[in-house]
Amino acid sequence: MVGLMSAAFAALGGLLIGIIAGYNRPFDNIVMRVMDGLMSIPTILLAIALISLTGPGIGILIVAIAIPETPAVARLVRSVVLGVRERPYVEAALCGGARLPKVIWRHILPSTIPPLMVQSATVCASAILTEAGLSFLGVGVPPEIPSWGNMIASSRLYLAIAPLTIFAPGICLAVTVLAVNLLGDGLRDLFDPHAKRRR
């Protein structure tokens, strides 16, 4: 849940920033430097810092995980936009009298979706892991809400007596992350017109 939401936020934010950066030079220069800066901050540290400022809560947790994941998405989208905007079919659309927002919506956005899907899946997987890590450290999801991270954290004390209680959520976590990654690959194949032709 936290993973999905963070991934959605990161993807949306990244998409928006990426597209604007792909089309606006000054914005690109400034924002991409900021993004580079964000990328160099470790996810867990930023989350701990944010949560210690506001106190624990699911909302802030999602934001804390989404922020450091956004730059990767933005970079990806920007590179796709920069590549696609030079394509003759985009120029052809402009020649046909299409206005910029329409060109972006109809010709550029669809090309960003497949890589975005794959990237979001990766983000989602890493968000799940981060969330688990934070919960394990006790700064993530409040302890009264069940989460795999919390389960692992609380089972830690009983590792010697009941190892299953720590393995069960651990394995669930691993399987979920794997599943999300595979889903991303599947989505990419679904959206890719070339892949479709081959089948």
């Binding site: 394509r87 003759p88 079919y89 120029e91 052809a92 659309a93 402009l94 020649c95 046909g96 009298g97 299409a98 206005r99 329409k102 109809r106 010709h107 669809p110 090309s111 017109p193 070339h194 032709r197």
Partner: protein, 357 residues
């Protein structure tokens, strides 16, 4: 109708190389330098030249896909280079473009029908019925069956894709179509089909063409007037027949001599012009062709030759063959002119014998 449909005046485009925050002078690529020409309604103007001569940049400047550094582009007397976005939007209806590569100029995710009706939908809303009728109409115009409208570009052959590209350009019923190497990527037999289609469309609809190509055979076939470009400048602009029968600028001559002729009985491979096209970042001083030119004299290294009108209506930029300044000097000077050393005219006459046949 008075005056030409399209008039281009002193069009110039410099591309800066890299950003210049820390550098005082930014080096520039002089892609297009002081280009002027006009196109009458219903006529075909060809622009020929080798890669890097700026012919594709001219096409993109005309469509305002790139902003000019200087100069004017007038359609029916209105300067579109100075127009704001909204006004430009309306003028886009008058000019359309056909692209070189029929593979990358169509969005692979849209069907042929969606592609060709899109320009119209930028200007008016269409119902589902109207859209289908329009697509069928346009496809029939370019010699394709209306059922093709549901195909994706990947399901069409190269020639069919280029037909779709032409149908898209026709959708807004433009008065001018700019074709940038529109048949270069096609096989000979398909190329013939597309050239015929373009000629038919011109006759039926009275469309003007600016036809950009590197292929002299195609240019001679389709053009009425031809502009030869070299390193960003027009070096010769003449009626098609006159240009091919008797090229005046040494570069035009070299270009025509270099084109392979599909006739094995013809004299083989004349001595080709030496050297390669210099870089537009640091073009030669004076006439850009002088390092390769067998006729070059001292003056060619210093002054850029102006375009000088000749007796038969053509304009030529060459100090030797078309000296400026003398108003009476309107007849073109050819290589065997007694003023010039025999050795020079010798090298030329070898080629000339082939050119003039």
């Amino acid at each position: 109708m008075s005056g030409p449909l399209l008039k281009v005046e002193n069009l110039t485009k410099h591309y800066p190389l890299g950003s210049g925050i820390f550098k005082k002078t930014i080096p520039v690529i002089r892609a297009v330098e002081d280009v002027s020409f006009s196109v009458e309604a219903g006529e075909t103007l060809c622009i020929v030249g080798e890669s890097g001569c700026g012919k594709s940049t001219v096409a993109r400047l005309l469509m305002r896909l790139v902003e000019p550094t200087g100069g004017r582009v007038l359609i029916d007397g209105t300067d579109i280079a100075g127009l704001k976005k909204d006004a430009l939007h309306a003028w886009r209806r008058r000019m359309q473009m056909v692209f070189q590569d029929p593979y990358s100029s169509l969005n692979p995710r849209l069907t042929a029908g969606q592609i060709i009706t899109e320009p119209v939908e930028n200007f008016e809303r269409l119902g589902r019925r109207q859209r289908q009728a329009l697509a069928a109409d346009l496809l029939r115009n370019v010699g394709m069956s209306p059922e093709m409208m549901h195909r994706l570009p990947s399901e069409l052959s190269g020639g069919q894709r280029q037909r779709v590209g032409i149908a898209r350009a026709l959708a807004l019923r433009p008065s001018l179509i700019i074709a940038d190497e529109a048949v270069s990527a096609l096989d000979v037999s398909v190329q013939a089909q597309i050239l015929n289609l373009l000629l038919d469309l011109q006759q039926q609809m009275g469309i003007s063409f600016v036809f950009i190509s590197h292929d002299l055979g195609v240019v001679e076939y389709i053009g009425r007037r031809v502009a030869v470009m070299y390193l960003g400048r027009i070096v010769e602009l003449a009626q098609c027949e006159a240009l091919f029968a008797k090229p005046v600028h040494p570069y035009t001559e070299a270009l025509i001599a270099a084109a392979p002729v599909p006739d094995p009985t013809r004299a083989r491979l004349a001595t080709p012009v030496e050297g390669e096209v210099p870089s537009p970042i640091n073009p030669p001083t004076g006439c850009a062709f002088h390092p390769r030119c067998p006729l070059a004299v001292e003056r060619c290294r210093i002054d850029v030759p102006p375009l000088v009108p000749m007796a038969d209506g053509r304009v030529v930029a060459c100090h030797v063959r078309a000296p400026a300044g003398d108003a009476r000097h309107l007849a073109p000077v050819t290589g065997d002119h007694p003023l010039y050393p025999v050795a020079m005219s010798d090298t030329l006459s070898i080629r000339a014998s082939r050119v003039h046949r």
